[in-house]
């Protein structure tokens, strides 16, 4: 598993410190598909960088810890995130947002596989055998083997993304992090790639962490979800329960804003905007946009509490969420 404890991830900028992730704690269990969602700019990608152990200036882990527990030669080991880089690709791999940048534009796909896997036992296979294994793996994933001889720019966005998924899962890492792996792709290819990832996950029983803006995607494939708002975790719940009965107003408004095919009702995004992460307000960060907010909310930072087994909410009025219907229409711009 991966344990995230009281984590603060801050960017140093000339304007000041951007507190992109603030005091975040949760567990990632073995064998689950965990979804992360939240408004753009709320710190999802930053958190993923932290969980991958890829924290470089101007970003810094200013507080807390991230640890990965893995089994190695029959022994359980706890590894701090500062050491994660030693386990990249083989134990933990990462498909970043805008992952076109993962592939080197002037190197053929096959050589990208060779370059990524420097592990001794993989190397020991020799080039020829490795080549065979890679081709076999691509066939398993129903990718045309011709791609191995192509350069990234010769492939469409969807094909490139499938290659990256193949690359990231080739030696069966325990943890696969994917940051918006399908946002740039159409629904058919998206469905194909997600199905491919889910099948791999079922087969390997590994852990898969997915950041996506598409709540439909979360509904389809994740087991549990973490909802972030302005650098903090505001809700954690099993996916089905989260959609059925959210216990944080942000989640409720988010789910309500989603348009559905064939449904003509007017929908509204959440009015207002998130607070600046340079100087967040003292109380609940969602207060300025929340239909349930009162003075207490503006003063007290709501703690993340377990409101039902496995269901956490950081709202002082979590009992009232979903009980009180959303009144009137929300601001549109």
């Amino acid at each position: 598993m991966i344990r995230v404890r009281n984590v603060c991830l801050h960017y140093q900028t000339v304007q000041g410190t951007v507190k992109a992730v603030e005091n975040v704690s949760f567990d990632i269990f073995d064998g689950e598909i965990l979804g992360i969602a939240g408004e753009s700019g709320c710190g999802k990608s930053t958190l993923m960088k932290g969980i991958y152990g890829n924290v470089e200036a101007p970003l810094a882990l200013t507080q807390g810890s991230i640890e990965m527990e893995i089994e190695q030669v029959g022994e359980r080991q706890v590894i701090p995130s500062t050491q994660f880089h030693r386990y990249w690709w083989e134990h933990i791999s990462y498909i970043p947002q805008a992952s076109m940048s993962v592939l080197n534009p002037v190197v053929r796909i096959q050589d990208q596989f060779f370059d990524s896997y420097l592990r001794a036992d993989v190397r020991a296979l020799g080039k020829q055998q490795l080549q065979g294994r890679i081709a076999e793996y691509l066939r398993e994933l129903e990718l045309p083997v011709e791609v191995l001889h192509s350069y990234p720019h010769q492939l469409s966005g969807g094909m490139r993304q499938r290659v990256i998924v193949a690359l990231a899962t080739f030696v069966h890492p325990r943890f696969v992090l994917a940051d918006e792996p399908t946002t740039a792709l159409d629904v058919v290819v998206q469905r194909g790639i997600l199905t491919m990832l889910v099948n791999l996950q079922r087969q390997l029983q590994n852990t898969f962490i997915l950041v996506s803006h598409d709540m439909g995607v979360h509904y389809q494939i994740t087991d549990r979800m973490v909802i972030m708002y302005a650098g903090q975790v505001v809700e954690i719940a099993p996916t089905a329960i989260l959609f059925e009965r959210p216990r944080h107003p942000y989640t409720q408004l988010l789910i309500n804003s989603l348009p559905r095919l064939g449904d003509d009702t007017q929908r509204f995004g959440i009015g207002g905007r998130p607070p600046s992460l340079l100087a967040p307000p003292p109380g609940c960060r969602f207060a300025a946009r929340c239909h349930l907010a009162d003075d207490q909310c503006r003063q007290v930072q709501p703690p993340l509490v377990e409101v039902a087994p496995g269901h956490f909410s950081a709202c002082l009025k979590h009992e009232w969420v979903t009980e009180i219907p959303l009144v009137g229409e929300r601001e549109t711009t």
Binding site: T13, Q15, G38, E39, S40, G41, S45, Q97, A98, E142, P144, E146, V147, H149, S150, Q154, S156, G157, G158, M159, R162, E180, T183, A184, L185, D186, V187, V188, V189, Q190, R191, G192, L194, T195, H213, D214, M215, G216, V217, Y219, Q220, F243, L253, L254, I255, S257, L258, P259, R260, L261, G262, R267, F268, G269, I270, G272, R273, S276, T332, T333
Partner: protein
Amino acid sequence: MSDKFLEIKNVSKIYRIGGLLGQTKIAAVDNVNLALERGKPQVLSIVGESGSGKTTLARMLLHLIQPTHGEILIDGMQTGGQLNGAQLKAFRRRAQPIFQNPFESFSSRKTVDTYLFETARNILGAQTQAAANRAVDEALVNVGLSAERVVGRYPNQFSGGELQRISVARAMIPRPELIVADEPVSMIDASMRMNVVNLFKKLRDEFKVTILYITHDLSTAYYVSDQIAIMYRGSIVESGPSAKVLKTPSHPYTELLLDSVAKIGEKWNEVVRLPDLETKEYGYKGCKFAGRCAYAREVCRQAKPPIVTLDGQSQVHCFKPVDYQHPAPAGGS
């Protein structure tokens, strides 16, 4: 003056691509017709998978690239190749782009407000700093941001979603007649997506702007558009009023798209077939979808499918609605 503001007739764009398959020609856009009427502002969605030619079509409409065949007319006048500087400037005031990848629309070495002020001064024609400030601030507020949070910052200091909202704001500064938005919401979270598409509705209704909305998000396309065109491998395979096309799809590809949407409340069941290397399909003689179509028959592979008008409303390029009858060679395709 023509009642058409912008019109494209039998437009194609052929690219020659070298590489692993030797020199091949692909029709990124293949014989497409489209007209935007004056005084009838609407949202026209163009939906299709990645590589289907949406961006190429958008770039031709914006006079950023020239078609290989066919003509583009502005106000009914043929533009005949390159516009001169003054014409181009006048055209830019009327037709504004929003591009797919916000990280590419802004140079990493300039602060993003540079673009906003440039547009306010050069395209809108703001005479004073105060007027420019007002235009920039108003545009930013419309997309849920503010000048205070944007001015002085570089692109890498924003999240993907924030940057895309800034692109929308920039396009709105000159109050154009047409906005060509190439996947403007693909990097934005679901609730902000609704704000942007509602904003498009507002621009259409209040400012009489026609919006060409290129997307693969079928839910927002259904929600926002009056007309829709579905593209596959360079051709528009089905087009018409969006409610008709999305509620009663006629083209097998439209059906596949609709089946692949990650819906909430209804889980996927069977597996989908992903496309082969796209370049192969471009070479197909008959229907380019034949390799993936469950209804394909021999004639589909041999001849270009006819354009069939259904209920006098929507048009579909397919043999199926005409019982696989080969049409008389007359009539365009």
